[in-house]
Amino acid sequence: MSFFDRLFGRKSSADSAKERLQLVLIHDRTDLTPAELDSLKDDLIAAISRHVEIDTQSMQIGVEHDGRSQRLVADIPIKSAQRRRARKTK
């Protein structure tokens, strides 16, 4: 990596290698493509929405790894029940 690369804030080739590998290994290990992850997300929204109202805009779902094991991590904010009730009575 040259002085100029660093000066212009360009990522080192080792950093790109590591970032690319991190993504590719998650897909290899879980057999989940980004498209499949999206459809999983849609299914989750549909299932959960049947029970509670959720904030689909700010929900986050992704695969995290801890050592060699992968976990699906979903952070799904639930809309407050009081606010929902208030809206319904209006």
């Binding site: 990596m1 080192s12 080739s13 080792a14 590591k18 590719v24 290994l25 050592g67 060699r68």
Partner: protein
């Protein structure tokens, strides 16, 4: 004590499996262990040339399995180390001439007479690889600090876990400290972060590996080679010794080293 059976595998070809097996075998046998190495790459044998024993082959592993010779007849004694033997692969057969249970039977016959049985796996994750890991007590996965080799290593580590052959131990081969310093090569820490397995050795890139393979005398014989030192250290770790990892950052000019000492780099 019965032998430790160790298989070296990688997924990707050309990362140094055969070189590692030859050097670990030499290092272990120089240290007084009785060692047999088995070339598991049927159809593409190479361990014989790396060890410099290609002219002594009469029988091979398939001859043993198919009963054309006794096990001892297929074992070639090393030129320098009397306690080191090679069972060569067959060159004109394919991987299906051997099954995992053949390997188990063969290794069982060796277990009581030797300290180490080292098995060189072919590249890939098919039959030859399955044969090579069938009898292993321990599997060493070897990789290079480079995207395709790391990806394939991860795949192999996953299969080994699924087959209850894990946890694998990792050898990072052909690390170039100068490139790592320039952030143009994945560091050993990067690779470990990605693969999340136990590390058993880091072998620096070293032109002596090629020179020694030209001569058919593995680099572990060479007291001055850094790669040879790294392989000797792995051999000691296999025997249960605690050996610190080589400081590969001591390269560079005196001026660079002084700058590092002064904390300027």
């Amino acid at each position: 004590m019965p032998a430790q059976v160790i298989t070296v595998t990688s997924g990707k070809g050309g990362v140094g499996k055969t070189t590692a097996v030859a050097n670990l075998a030499v290092a272990l046998a120089s240290n007084g262990s009785k060692v047999v190495c088995i070339d598991g790459d049927i159809g593409l044998r190479n361990l014989d040339v790396i060890l410099g024993l290609e002219n002594r082959i009469v029988y091979d592993i398939v001859d043993v399995i198919e009963g054309r010779c006794r096990l001892k007849q297929a074992m070639i004694r090393d030129k320098k180390l009397p306690e080191l033997y090679l069972i060569p692969a067959a060159q004109t057969r394919d991987k299906n001439s051997v099954s995992p249970s053949d390997m188990n039977r063969l290794v069982k016959d060796l277990r009581n007479d030797y300290d180490f049985v080292l098995i060189d796996s072919p590249a890939g994750i098919e039959r030859g690889f399955r044969n090579a890991i069938a009898a292993a007590d321990r599997v060493l996965v070897i990789t290079n600090p480079e995207v395709s080799a790391v990806r394939d290593a991860d795949r192999v580590i996953g299969i080994l876990e699924a087959e209850d052959k894990g946890p694998a131990a990792l050898i990072i081969n052909r690390l170039n400290p100068a490139l790592v310093k320039k952030s143009d090569m994945l560091s050993a820490d990067d690779v470990l972060d990605l693969l999340a397995v136990e590390l058993i050795g880091i072998v620096p890139e070293d032109e002596n590996v090629i020179i020694s393979s030209n001569r058919g005398a593995p680099v572990a014989h060479d007291p001055k080679s850094k790669a040879g030192q790294a392989f000797r250290n792995i051999a000691r770790r296999l025997k249960g010794e605690k050996v610190p990892f080589l400081d590969l950052d001591s390269s560079g000019s005196l001026w660079e080293r002084l700058q590092r000492l002064a904390g300027r780099k």
